[in-house]
């Protein structure tokens, strides 16, 4: 643990928490441009958050303390997840505390609590949303784990820092296993972040919504925390993708200059990634909910295939 490690850790956390809504705003802006609409400002998510924090909380009569605690809990989990993924430097103190499997566990923990919160008030939509969220979750989680396993087999480690360091130092050849894993990871991230082929973040149509149905009973500061956590989740998934597939520009060891240069590199990569996400959402159509298992099953098989290909061809 070094001074630069601690600085990198804290900077990373601060960047994630503060810039996550910006990424959401950027994706929304790109989407609006692609749809030939006038885009909302880049800072629109911050305005929404500020508005929600000012509003009072309207709580259902039978909401339990679990319902009230869940938004902070989920926010904390996702902030920790953002701190674990190496985005600026690989010399992170938290690296010894949580590896790739723990990262998946952390994301699952957040999902567990948001699903329970959705069931807490006992409305028709809440439990429907929770059920669908868990359906997407139990199909997407193993696929994500398999993607990370493929990377960890390559680097002989489940530590995220070691993975990033190893992947960044491989010569620039397209590895078939990572290609499969990349496709699988993209599909999983779309599903996990309630993005278009699986869910639509912009709709409140009863029959199709997943994430929005679950958080329907939240208002005021609780909703603000949930929305912020959702932005953080998108940020975390983007960072996992960048760490696994584009790990270039990340500072290694106690390299101060590298740390300074890593921040603009991260912003640039995220900007490109966000635009790509908007493009994917533009060209695909929302699926029926029961097509989602096929979609995610494909992702899961691709991820397992990635591991098999690694064992067979690259091992």
């Amino acid at each position: 643990m070094s001074a630069s490690g601690i600085v990198a850790q804290l900077t990373e956390l601060a960047i994630a928490v503060l810039l996550a809504p910006l990424l959401t705003g950027w994706v929304n802006q790109c989407r609006a441009w692609l749809q030939n609409r006038t885009a909302p400002g880049l800072l629109q998510p911050y305005r929404t958050l500020a508005k929600l924090f000012e509003k009072e909380v309207v709580l259902a009569h039978n909401a339990s303390s679990l319902f009230r605690a869940a938004p902070y809990f989920i926010f904390g989990c996702l902030a920790l997840a953002a701190a674990i993924v190496p985005t600026l430097g690989t010399d992170l103190p938290l690296n010894a505390a949580a590896d790739a499997i723990a990262l998946v566990g952390l994301l699952a923990l957040a999902r567990f609590f948001i699903a329970l919160a959705g069931m807490d008030v006992g409305t028709a939509f809440g439990s429907l949303g929770s059920r669908r969220e868990m359906l997407v979750g139990f199909l997407a989680e193993p696929a994500l784990l398999m993607v990370l396993f493929t990377a960890s087999l390559i680097s002989h480690s489940t530590s995220l820092s070691t993975m990033v360091e190893t992947l960044a130092h491989r010569e620039l050849v397209i590895y078939p296993s990572m290609a499969f894993a990349g496709v699988a990871f993209t599909m999983v991230s779309l599903a996990e972040n309630a993005r278009i082929p699986v869910d639509n973040p912009a709709t409140h149509l009863e029959l199709t919504m997943i994430h929005e149905a679950m958080v329907l009973e939240y208002s005021g500061r609780h909703l603000a925390m949930i929305e912020w956590a959702a932005s953080l989740k998108l940020f975390v998934y983007s960072c996992i993708g960048l760490a696994l597939f584009f790990p270039f520009g990340v500072a290694e060891g106690g390299d101060w200059l590298g740390l300074v240069l890593a921040a603009p590199a991260l912003v640039a990569k995220l900007a490109v990634g966000g635009a790509a996400l908007a493009l994917i959402e533009m060209v695909s159509a929302k699926m029926r909910i029961f097509r989602a298992p096929e979609f995610l099953g494909t992702a899961f098989l691709l991820a397992v295939l990635a591991m098999l290909v690694h064992v067979l061809l690259e091992g």
């Binding site: 924090f53 259902a60 989680e141 489940t158």
Partner: protein, 670 residues
């Protein structure tokens, strides 16, 4: 008795004394079989014995194996007892969980439910004692006596509410499968003694059976102990017997009795045979993963909370057997370090499962007493009425779902780590199977999250689905104390894995020759092979997460107002919301039914849209019944119907049979 003749008292003597004390307590209950008050004194005493046994076992973990010959048994065939680190580990589990369940039983006991309290108390303590004796038995004879006592006492506990036909049926199924297993275990010991006629484990250990006989013994042991553990396809008794038994008994059976079967598998494969072949590991891995996936998929569609937990037990046993398979695989290829890692994961998960499964079964017991409902479709909203039970059940649910930072995650983490090291295996085909196996483990873990959201959400959250739930009361002091003890165990085992790893080190050293370096990076870290390969620190993890949550909460409270207004639920503005509009247990199972449709045998009828009085019925059954058990049952019936040809009901015919038999015998003897 001469049990205490060997002064100073050794750990083995103390463990035997604990079992004897349980037997005495059970016998004491017979003095007044109908007295609830006497049973209320005996159960806490049993709990004290449990704690004492746990303390003794903890000490014995780090001692050299001790053996003695008991002055019991048949002439020339005395009972041998032996306490080594593996026995001590499982005795520790029995002591910790047995004590918790005994405390709970003190409060759970009611007059007028099923068999008289004294008889239940007797069976309960005999059950505890026999499990203890199974773990210290050192010859096949003693082992089988203890094993059968365990089966019989638990049978009487399962059928304690014997006035219901379905409970008698469940008990019959249980005892039937238990005896099929027992025959298989007996044959396994027969194969291991290799014609010497010496059935002591010491002799089997020193014998080197041919690899053919060793394989026969292993397969018999896997089937025999598997019948007790509930691996597919011998699992069918489990979802019947667990809901039929009183909740403390379900807890004890699921948490400890299934583990004695795991103990048996480990004892036979790693100790008595001693040189596992790699393909045994492949068999155990395949069977284990099939059980795990099967169990969790069926758990997702259950509508009875205890059946749901019973299927989840099949899943966890499956994961444990898969871990055992991985251990054998590594051991067979002579990769000792990785075998140690896999064995650590196996034993750790066995211990964890004992804690969280007994916790959840006891929580369902409290819910059952408070509401007299077992069906998920008639529960809901109990977090308001039973907060203590609800929060303890939440701890258990997080643990069993394998989520950090609790104990279920640590063992699944270790198991996945063990999988990640398999690509170094010298066998190409096995190497290719490993990614598929790891994927199955990952899918199982994710599905268990789904199942636990269903379990906790439907029972404790939402609106109460029945009016009578408003009268539900929280658990009493004894019940709460037991729940807190077990929940605390889940938390400690989750946050301080170093403790458990150092307790497991003597076992892995003894059976694989290697140990996981527990104290390498301090008590708070798990770094099984090397820190740069993988490390995890639940305490640090929890500390940082708590700080982040706390900072977020404080910042929001400081910077903004804390205004809250209570109002009816919003539900998109729909004003006629009622409790029946929530997702039911069936509804929550439906996606799993659709995704894994071929696994189930689904029967049912859906009403047409224009039906004025719609009726909806659907059942998802186990195909194993129709593929395996019913054909066997029909074949047995056909064979037995041939026997009736002999029965003519006329005395002259029977005399003829006797005469013919005599003739045949004379022919042979001559």
């Amino acid at each position: 008795m001469t049990l205490f003749s060997g002064v100073p008292l050794s750990s083995l003597d103390a463990a035997l004394a604990a079992a004897a004390a349980w037997l005495v307590l059970g016998a004491g209950a017979l003095t007044a079989p109908r007295s609830v008050r006497l049973a209320r004194v005996l159960y806490p005493a049993g709990a004290l014995v449990g704690f004492a046994l746990a303390a003794v076992a903890l000490g014995a973990l780090f001692e050299a194996p001790a053996a003695r010959i008991l002055p019991l048994g048949l002439p020339d065939l005395p009972f041998h007892a032996r306490l080594d680190s593996l026995s001590a580990f499982f005795l520790l589990l029995l002591g910790c969980v047995g004590a918790g369940v005994s405390i709970y039983s003190t409060g759970y006991l009611r007059a007028g439910e099923g068999a008289p309290p004294g008889l239940q108390c007797l069976c309960y303590h005999v059950f505890l004692a026999s499990m203890g004796l199974v773990l210290v038995a050192d010859d096949a004879y003693f082992f089988m006596v203890a094993w059968e006592t365990m089966a019989l006492s638990s049978f009487f506990l399962v059928t304690s509410d014997h006035r219901h036909a379905e409970i008698r049926r469940a008990g019959y199924l249980y005892i039937l499968i238990a005896h099929l297993g027992a025959i298989s275990i007996l044959l396994c010991f027969g194969a291991l003694q290799a014609g010497t006629g010496d059935y002591s484990f010491e002799a089997m250990r020193n014998l080197q059976p041919s690899s053919g006989w060793a394989s026969v013994a292993f397969v018999l042991a896997l089937a025999g102990f598997g019948a007790k553990a509930g691996i597919v396809p011998l699992h069918i008794w489990l979802p019947e017997a667990h809901p039929a038994a009183p909740s403390p008994v379900s807890a004890l059976m699921s948490a400890v009795m299934l583990k004695t079967a795991i103990y048996g598998m480990l004892r036979v494969s790693l100790d008595l045979i001693g040189f596992p072949l790699w393909w045994w590991g492949v068999i155990a891995l395949a069977v284990g993963l099939a059980s795990a996936l099967f169990g969790i998929i069926f758990a997702a569609v259950q509508t009875d909370m205890k059946r749901l937990l019973a299927y989840s037990s099949i899943e966890n046993i499956g994961l444990i057997v898969a871990g055992l398979g991985l251990t054998l695989l590594f051991r067979g290829f002579g990769m000792g370090t990785f075998a140690a890692l896999a064995l650590t994961a196996t034993l750790y998960h066995a211990f964890n499962h004992a804690f969280f499964k007994s916790l959840l079964f006891l929580a369902t017991g409290s819910v059952l007493h408070a509401t007299s409902e077992r069906a998920l479709g008639r529960l809901g909203g109990l977090i308001h009425r039973m907060p203590r039970v609800a929060w303890c059940a939440l701890v258990g649910s997080i643990a069993i779902a394998g989520l950090p930072p609790l104990n279920g995650f640590v063992s699944e983490w270790l198991l996945l780590q063990a999988f990640l090291f398999t690509p170094g295996l010298p066998q190409g085909y096995v190497n290719m199977l490993v990614p598929v196996a790891a994927a199955a483990v990952a899918l199982t873990a994710a599905l268990s999250g789904y199942v636990m959201v269903k379990f906790f959400g439907v029972v404790f959250l939402g609106q109460p689905r029945e009016a009578k739930l408003a009268a539900a009361h929280d658990a009493g002091p004894w019940e709460s104390a037991a729940l807190f003890w077990l929940a605390g165990g889940c938390i400690v085992l989750g946050l301080m894995p170093g403790l458990m790893l150092s307790a497991l080190e003597p076992i892995t050293r003894r059976f694989t020759g290697y140990g996981i370096d527990a104290a390498g990076r301090g008590w708070l870290f798990v770094a099984p092979i090397a820190p740069e390969r993988a490390s995890y620190s639940p305490a640090l993890f929890l500390a940082v997460a708590s700080i982040l949550i706390l900072v977020a909460w404080l910042a929001v409270r400081r910077l903004y107002h804390g205004r809250v207004r209570r109002a009816p639920a919003w539900d998109c503005g729909f004003p006629w919301l009622n409790a029946r509009m929530q997702d039911s247990a069936e509804g929550f199972g439906q996606p799993v039914k659709v995704v894994f449709r071929p696994v189930f045998r689904i029967e049912g009828e859906a009403p047409s849209p224009s039906d004025a009085r719609p009726r909806y019925r659907e059942s998802a059954e186990d195909r194993m019944w129709y593929w395996l058990y019913l054909p066997i049952a029909r074949a047995v019936e056909r064979v037995t119907s041939l026997v009736t040809l002999l029965q003519r009901g006329r005395i002259s015919v029977y005399l003829m049979y006797s005469f013919a038999t005599l003739l045949v015998l004379l022919f042979f003897i001559r």
